[in-house]
């Protein structure tokens, strides 16, 4: 799992090699118009440079600050404190509890999405009137803005006049103000929003299962359970795995939804803690260190994801 400055090295390395190769007189098209080499460089280098300037450079900038006690709210110069920020953070039980909350949230919401999404896909995977329309309608939630979804679920969750309590006959049940319930309420909204994503991927997987396998199973008088566990599931598993990794990554980063829905400390995900540390408490140096800890975790998951994607693509 390479840290970001390794990317920079890779980036710089590639830049160097491309520049060297530009100097080689190679292309037969060089006689007319630009050579293929220079077109390639012209097309790729600006994008890579743009991403380095606006994504990698800021990260190097914040790496520097992560070793200081800098506070962006004051004009006091930053003092170098070495690894103090990292040490403090890793010894802070509060931060550990944020990680634990985030882990719990990721597990609940991804498991929920997997169950609902795959379940609905199994239901939809047959001849149904208006199937195309229904599928598109079901996909709508995941296209919406998380912040705005959070806002209108707040309306639905309202304990005294919310539709959810009324529909389920729960009286004045507190969803968001109850410390025990808040995280589940956020996860439930996330499940509503993102199950369609798992459904979409599952449908693609299910429709790719060769029909003759089911026919063969039927001829052999295989039961529905046998058919499901021995044919359907193994063949859909790779695509489900993609959905799970992708959703894990996104759930780990969740900010908007939880931030808007609730201010319960029991639902304080790692991104929210980071936001508060940086932009409400103005502990800039420390929040940079925290950002690096989060960054390394995300890169680890991303790496797994990309490796898996490439593996699936090769098949």
């Amino acid at each position: 799992m390479p840290p970001p400055f390794l990317f920079l090295q890779t980036g710089a390395g590639v830049l160097a090699t491309t520049m060297i190769t530009t100097l080689e007189r190679s292309s037969r098209a060089a006689a007319r118009g630009l050579s293929d080499m220079s077109i390639r460089n012209l097309f790729i280098i600006p994008t890579v440079l743009f991403l380095i300037v606006f994504n990698i450079f800021p990260l190097i900038y914040s790496l520097g600050y992560s070793f200081t006690d800098f506070r962006a709210s004051t004009n006091a110069p930053a003092n170098f404190v070495g690894l103090q920020n990292y040490r403090d953070l890793l010894n802070d039980p509060y931060v550990w509890s944020n990680f634990a909350i985030t882990a719990k949230y990721v597990i609940i919401s991804v498991a929920g999405q997997l169950l609902v999404g795959f379940g609905v896909a199994m239901l939809l995977n047959r001849d149904i009137p208006l199937k195309g329309l229904i599928t598109t309608l079901l996909l709508l939630p995941m296209m919406l803005s998380m912040a705005v979804v959070g806002l209108f679920w707040k309306l639905l969750y309202d304990p005294s006049w919310g539709v959810i309590n009324y529909a389920l006959g729960l009286g004045n049940f507190e969803w968001l103000a109850d410390p025990k319930m808040a995280l589940y309420a956020v996860a439930l909204t996330d499940i509503w929003m993102w199950s369609p994503f798992v459904m979409l991927l599952s449908l693609a997987g299910l429709s790719a299962v060769p029909k003759h396998l089911y026919e063969a199973a039927a001829i052999d008088r295989a039961g529905p359970f046998y058919t499901f566990f021995r044919i359907t599931l193994p063949l859909v598993a790779p695509i489900l795995m993609i959905a799970v990794i992708f959703r894990t990554m996104e759930a780990f980063k969740t900010f908007d939804l939880a931030y808007i829905l609730t201010s319960q400390p029991t639902a304080e995900l790692i991104s929210i803690r980071l936001y508060k540390m940086a932009f409400q408490e103005w502990q800039t140096g420390r929040s940079c260190a925290m950002a690096y800890i989060v960054l390394i975790m995300v890169l680890a998951i991303t790496n797994i994801y990309v490796k898996y994607l490439n593996k699936v693509k090769e098949r």
């Binding site: 390395g13 390639r40 890579v48 800021p58 149904i128 639905l156 026919e215 980063k253 991104s271 991303t302």
Partner: protein, 319 residues
């Protein structure tokens, strides 16, 4: 298949269809609820039991766009008669539209936020898709040393949590005066969408047969001419789909906008929730703002329906 269908399977099929309908209703209920609240009179928005049947009103939308204050005394019949219809619906709700010294209607904060969202999302989409198309072509057609690493690097920039990137960006923007500017957000969203656009466009480029351009090259086209005259038209569908995805991402983005803007360049996502802030919020107005904001995305989702799978999986899964 029909030959091996048993009666119990047909029965199960019927159950499944009913279940699908139920699931669809449950999934759409929240969206229906927000849409219907946007057309309710204020006193019916938060009733117990919830109001399902009502006379739809346009007043929440009038209120959404205008600045209002409480009426201290009801308007005189002459005043009421002289007022245009959109002012009357506000009078009916016990409020009046605030006017400046010249009698000009004062706008609320919403229209400028909506406009900001449009400007920022459209500009950043054009930039990200433009650059992404060129880069994708480069990766698709030419040998690039360390291609896998480079593509991973490009993707990884998208995977970072926004707050992580926002901390240094905030400091840098503050240093160069880009906080709360359109340009600042456009740059951020372009960078954010560029990686997505490269990955998705590379998939579309890979699908265009190389032979098309090779034939053109043999016919005396330069590589550039072949790219613009042969490849780009072939890639039009892919470009459109990528653009819609980038637009939706930029349109929906919240965290960067919350941190980097507060007024001048603020977009709708941080603005709409901020209205709930104080006192007893008028949920019909909030619902109206939400409804207008979600409408373009809903329309685009229908236009995109055949490309959703591909876009949502970064081009990994194609149908």
């Amino acid at each position: 298949m029909a030959a091996v269908r048993t009666s119990s399977e047909i029965g199960f099929n019927r159950v499944a269809i009913v279940a699908v309908l139920l699931v669809t209703i449950i999934f759409l209920a929240p969206i229906y609820w927000i849409a219907s609240t946007a057309f309710k009179p204020r006193n019916l928005a938060t009733t117990i039991p919830p109001t399902v049947v009502f006379q739809p009103e346009i007043s929440p939308f009038v209120k959404l766009f205008t600045k209002r204050s409480q009426l201290r005394s009801p308007p005189t019949p002459e005043e009421y008669a002289a007022a245009p219809w959109w002012e009357r619906v506000v009078f009916d709700g016990g409020e009046k539209i605030v006017r400046d010294g010249k009698g000009q209607v004062q706008w609320s904060g919403y229209p400028s936020r909506f406009l900001n969202s449009l400007i920022i999302a459209i500009t950043s989409t054009v930039l990200a898709v433009g650059m992404g198309t060129f880069t994708a072509y480069g990766f698709s057609r030419f040998k690039v040393k360390g291609e896998a690493d480079l593509l991973f690097f490009i993707l990884s920039t998208r995977m970072l949590p926004p707050v992580v990137v926002a901390i240094p960006m905030f400091l840098m923007y503050r240093a160069v005066g880009l906080n709360d500017t359109h340009v600042g957000l456009i740059i951020l969203y372009t960078a954010f969408n560029l990686s997505f656009s490269v990955w998705l466009m590379k998939g579309f480029m890979d699908e265009i047969p190389k032979e098309y351009e090779e034939a053109a090259l043999v016919d005396g086209y330069t590589r550039m001419e072949a790219f613009f005259k042969i490849v780009l038209p072939e890639a039009a569908t892919g470009i459109a789909a990528t653009a819609v995805f980038c637009f939706i991402t930029a349109w929906n983005e919240y965290a960067f906008a919350l941190i980097m803007t507060n007024r001048r360049a603020q977009t709708a996502p941080p603005f709409i929730p901020s209205q709930v802030g104080s006192g007893l919020p008028d949920w019909t107005v909030i619902a109206a703002g939400t409804f207008l904001f979600l409408l373009p995305v809903a329309i685009f989702t229908f236009l995109l329906r055949n490309h959703l799978l591909r876009g949502m999986s970064f081009g990994a899964i194609r149908k």
